[in-house]
Symmetry: C2
Subunit: 246 residues, 2 copies
Amino acid sequence: MPRLKLTVAYDGTVFAGWQSQVHRNTVQDKLERAFNEICGAHVRVHGAGRTDAGVHALAQCAHVDLPIRRLSAGNWTTALNATLPPTLRVLRCRFVSPQFHARFSATGKTYRYRIWSAPILPPLELHRVWHIPQPIDVELLIAAGRMFVGKHNFAAYAANRGKKEENTVRTISLLKVRWRRSDVAIEISGDGFLYKMVRLMVGAMIRVSLGKMRLEEIESGLRTGRPNGSRNVAPSYGLYLVKVWY
Amino acid sequence: MPRLKLTVAYDGTVFAGWQSQVHRNTVQDKLERAFNEICGAHVRVHGAGRTDAGVHALAQCAHVDLPIRRLSAGNWTTALNATLPPTLRVLRCRFVSPQFHARFSATGKTYRYRIWSAPILPPLELHRVWHIPQPIDVELLIAAGRMFVGKHNFAAYAANRGKKEENTVRTISLLKVRWRRSDVAIEISGDGFLYKMVRLMVGAMIRVSLGKMRLEEIESGLRTGRPNGSRNVAPSYGLYLVKVWY
């Protein structure tokens, strides 16, 4: 069976996340139904990772094993897009070796988190940014972000810390804050991310930048693996999966 | 009665245009209902101009005569936004002299028209750009745009040419094409715009850039006031009202 790698983009607002669910409008379900329609057989879509409801993707990756051989990679892009809604697009398809696996072959990911820092949120930014009406201290935001860079135990920045056996050590290779007036973007690259890790990191960074948390609390969370006090999960709709690295 | 000037922004996708209509979700109706709720009396909102369904506004202007005096301009912004949906925001309010009129005092307007020039439209650009899958010649687009700059009879670029008595002479002071890969923006400033004028201008520019129309046809349309052959109205959802000049 030929293996096809897909790069897809979607507007997170209209989907109930990536992962297949009964009677829910998920990205995986939409893709599997499109393959089903074209192939006349069930095809399982393996994603590089799940994204929660509301999270956008500029370039999510997946792979499938095709039951038919008659289409070129370019034709797969066209055929899938003709079947899919415009809120979900296949950007490109490529045939890959059977050793390639969308999830296990990935060497890293890049996420972007967008914040709108102003009293009034422009209507066209709705569902695309986290609106923070209070003034934030960008210097503190940058300083907070810097603490995450490197190899750390991110147990304090994972939502499902119940699974004790899981390895919670991850390496953040890059964390960059860019801003232009009210428009703030945090770009984070790493070798892997725990469940809700980016949103918990951004939640802590914002708490620091609002003066509600001290920088040392981030440091101790990374050292001990336990959060100090309450945690703040940044909302899903500000998060964008930018790239999966292989 | 104190006169208040409003600057408002809206996502054109969710409204049936600016102008009040029976049983329709229009921007003017939403604003009048918000004033009604706050004042307990009907207040007429006078816009700087109408925008069609789908057209976005980054800074539309309007004025109202207030039946009550108890709120400051800043409080009006807050009170209106508390009542309005997040797809429509009041950016600022300012008390103005009774001589100020949102429509008649305006000295010009700036519009932006956005085009996405690539085979695949990214989902987050849906309803925000005109998607042109075929390659466009940007040099021709710029050359076509240049022809509109200056004082011309724009009768060939107006949708309602039935009204013969109307003065169709307008001055375009600036037309600038900016692009970054697939993302093309045309910014147009002028002393006034006829009905659907920007969308007819952009429609002609795109026809030229696709090689479907000659530059000379734009020139003759401006000279004679009559379009040569069929006209192309660019879709409403690519259009943004950027600024009203006073």
